[in-house]
């Protein structure tokens, strides 16, 4: 059977179960698009390639499938880099297909040529330049396997135009065999037995859940583990949803903008069980002071995450889900005595921290408080919406005031902290989950970084909702300037911004605005109920800061409140 490279590509993508591609065509990919039109794969035409990658990222996070992008060579490829770097930091499985100039022109500074494999080497899990048509099927299969297995991540495949056009007699690739890639899934039972011993002795234990719990689909097992052992749970930003936000054992998020009780629990605990986390500096603050009194257990599938930033007493390399299964099993076998009584002083202490220093903001203000908007959003959606965020204050207030009971509902650029992520991610999530309510919580700064994707949302009739907390400034940087740079507000005042209501209308979306606290609920109700793309703008207090805050590099227990 004679097939062109493009035909082989489409055949292989369909074999991998791909039904949606986010992309933007160009000269180098025109032959691929020609073939794409003959398949059942749905192509979502974005307005910027960065949007394509974030959309695929959002799609992957809510659907537990590999997100796929297709972009052209040169600028099409370079525009994907930010999205790829964000997915890499957050371990999101993506396959990014890039067009490339024909092989005989590579290295000649040809039109729209760029060494995208070289550029993305440090921000992909792996990448490929396909040199011959015969390799396409094998490489695409490897790319999907690498993207979704082990610690997931983005894989880029660079496809030169002649490789795509050439016809060969097609032979299906032999079984996938990567001799140098074998992630460790099965954890050591011996190590986990030691963990159970520590749990029995611990007076003040804490579980710290990271994004790995969500990626390994083990939120339910973590919840079972925590409830069985009576251990309170905190989570990183990426781990939100790994444990029910309404459970009494929930401490709230930890870290730079974590809750007082979560951070104090870390500082005071004698056993910390970290699951699927990587001890980012925004979580640990000063590492020497992080959980300084505790034995640390660290369960992660990526050995490089263990002992990278903090010393660990019991390392466990493996899949979080399998490790939690074994732990739950071991605990059942041991028939642990009731630990509630033994832990009571610890629970009393935590309750005391919660009572004296809860998350709070001024509710008597004449201006809209951004936290109030997020609280109302939580209330009106009953915590059931898929929430994307941009980056900065909007992201932190969402993390603090929207309580996630389930995984795969919170989309945020955690590691890279990439402004402009939320809107395209929300679009990707809405494509994957057409029947769910998807809301992007944004700031007036970050929404303008990928605002063009509003056109994508309108074109595909996606009822994505955008909540803009408009404080007329780049709030998080302004907050740092206020607190640490003598209120020298350099270049953080957005002196001009578009009229977001008119802008929404210009794009064919609905635009709503609230300027007073009393209008917040009305605008939210109206916007959330509308069966179309909506921007809801809330003019919020420009001087509101995110608290608690741990200054960068300070111990986690030293919070500005």
């Amino acid at each position: 059977m004679k097939l062109t490279g493009a035909q082989i590509l489409m055949k292989t993508l369909q074999e991998e179960g791909v039904d949606t591609i986010f992309g933007y065509p160009g000269a180098a990919t025109i032959d691929i698009y020609e073939e794409l039109s003959k398949t059942r794969i749905r192509h979502i035409l974005v307005r910027h390639e960065q949007g394509a990658v974030h959309a695929a990222d959002g799609y992957a996070r809510v659907s537990d499938r590999v997100g796929v992008c297709l972009v052209t060579s040169g600028p099409g490829a370079t525009n994907t880099v930010t999205g790829i770097a964000s997915a890499y930091m957050d371990s999101i499985p993506l396959v990014v297909l890039c067009g490339q100039v024909p092989t005989h022109l590579i290295g000649n500074d040809a039109f729209q040529e760029v060494d995208i494999v070289g550029i993305t080497r440090p921000c992909t899990k792996h990448n490929y330049l396909v040199n011959q048509t015969e390799d396409i099927a094998r490489i695409i299969k490897e790319a999907f396997h690498i993207a979704r297995s082990g610690r997931p991540g983005p894989v880029l495949v660079d496809l030169p135009k002649d490789v795509i056009k050439r016809s060969i007699s097609y032979a299906p690739p032999q079984s996938l065999r990567l001799r140098s890639y074998n992630p460790t899934y099965r954890p050591s039972k011996k190590q986990l037995q030691k963990v159970v011993e520590l749990i029995k002795q611990a007076q003040r234990p804490v579980i710290f859940a990271g994004g790995g719990v969500i990626l390994s689909k083990s939120a339910d097992r973590l919840t079972e583990f925590a409830r069985k052992t009576r251990i309170p749970v905190t989570a990183s930003l990426m781990g939100l949803g790994a444990f029910p936000g309404s459970d009494p054992l929930w401490l709230g998020m930890l870290g730079m903008h974590g809750t007082y009780r979560a951070n104090m629990s870390i500082a005071g605990c004698d056993l910390l069980i970290a699951v699927g986390a990587r001890f980012d500096d925004r979580v640990t603050g000063k590492t020497d002071a992080f959980a300084a009194q505790a034995q640390i257990v660290h369960i992660d599938i990526d050995p490089t995450s263990i002992r990278k930033n903090v010393p660990v007493s019991i390392p466990v390399v493996g899949d979080c889900g399998l490790a939690l299964d074994i732990l739950n099993h071991l605990i059942d076998e041991l028939k642990l005595e009731d630990l509630s009584q033994k832990r009571q002083p610890w629970f009393d202490q935590i309750e005391n921290w919660k009572r004296t220093t809860p998350l709070a903001y001024n509710t008597q203000c004449a201006m809209i408080k951004p936290q109030f908007v997020v609280e109302k959003l939580y209330e009106l959606t009953r915590g059931n919406a898929i929430i994307a965020t941009e980056v900065g204050q909007n992201q932190m207030w969402t993390a603090q005031y929207y309580h996630f009971d389930r995984p795969h509902r919170f989309l945020t650029s955690g590691g890279l902290g990439c402004m402009g992520y939320g809107l395209p991610a929300a679009i990707g999530a809405q494509i994957a989950c057409p029947d769910q309510l998807v809301v992007d919580v944004a700031g007036d700064g970050s929404i303008q970084m990928n605002i063009q994707e509003l056109a994508t949302a309108v074109q595909y009739q996606l009822a994505v909702k955008v909540v803009i907390l408009n404080n007329r400034c780049l709030g998080m940087v302004r907050q740092w300037q206020e607190l640490f740079h003598d209120k020298n507000y350099v270049s953080t005042q957005m002196e001009h911004a578009p009229d977001f209501v008119k802008l929404a209308e210009a794009y064919g979306a609905m635009g709503l605005r609230a300027v007073k606290p009393a209008e917040v609920e009305t605008v939210l109700r109206k916007g959330l109920a509308a069966p179309r793309t909506v921007i809801m703008e809330f003019l919020v207090d420009p001087e509101e800061c995110v608290y608690p805050m741990v200054p960068a590099g300070a111990p986690i227990s030293e919070m500005l409140l």
Binding site: G118, R121, P122, K125, H126, I146, Y181, T304, R307
Partner: protein, 164 residues
């Protein structure tokens, strides 16, 4: 924590871009490369890299784990702390004026190295040995005048049991 030299021997897929992945890992994460050698093994699909790096113990552990994480890395061995043989080859071009020629040849003899190129005013010497031997000959040749030097960097291989 003490920073020490560690010799890593790494088997990798013999593919374009693999060296760049490894060099990029070291530069991107701020790891030190003291020397790096790479060439094909008896299996043409596999190359062996020998990297000498300076790091403290936790860092060298992290370096090994990061290397293992690269898809094209087949195996990483740390030779430091095991029984192994290491060699480096240097070609040293020295000034060889008539009054020094005999002295240079005596050094060549003592260090069991070879003269591989001769001119009216120079000798080029080929020396192999471990780090200490190379350092020793260089210090002896320095007063004579070293014009140029090219070194391979260290290559190393583990010793197997003698058997018998």
């Amino acid at each position: 924590m003490k920073t020490e030299k560690h010799i890593l021997s790494i088997l990798v897929d013999n593919e374009p871009g693999v060296l760049s992945r490894i060099a990029g890992l070291f530069s991107g994460r701020g790891y030190n490369i003291e020397s790096l050698c790479v060439a094909e093994t008896t299996d043409p699909k596999i190359s062996r890299l020998t990297i000498a790096t300076k790091a403290n113990l936790p860092l060298v552990e992290q370096i090994k784990k990061q290397l293992n994480k690269l898809i094209n890395v087949v195996k990483v061995f740390e030779l430091t702390g095991t029984d192994f043989v290491q060699r480096e080859l240097a070609m040293i071009k020295v000034r060889a004026l008539p009054e020094h020629r005999a002295e240079i040849l005596r050094i060549v003899d003592i260090f069991r190295c070879k003269v591989v190129d001769v001119g009216l005013e120079h000798y080029t010497l080929e020396v192999t040995g471990d780090e200490d031997k190379l350092a020793a000959i260089l210090s002896l040749l320095k007063p004579v005048g070293i014009k140029e030097i090219a070194r391979t960097g260290v290559i190393a291989i583990s010793r197997d049991p003698k058997g018998g």
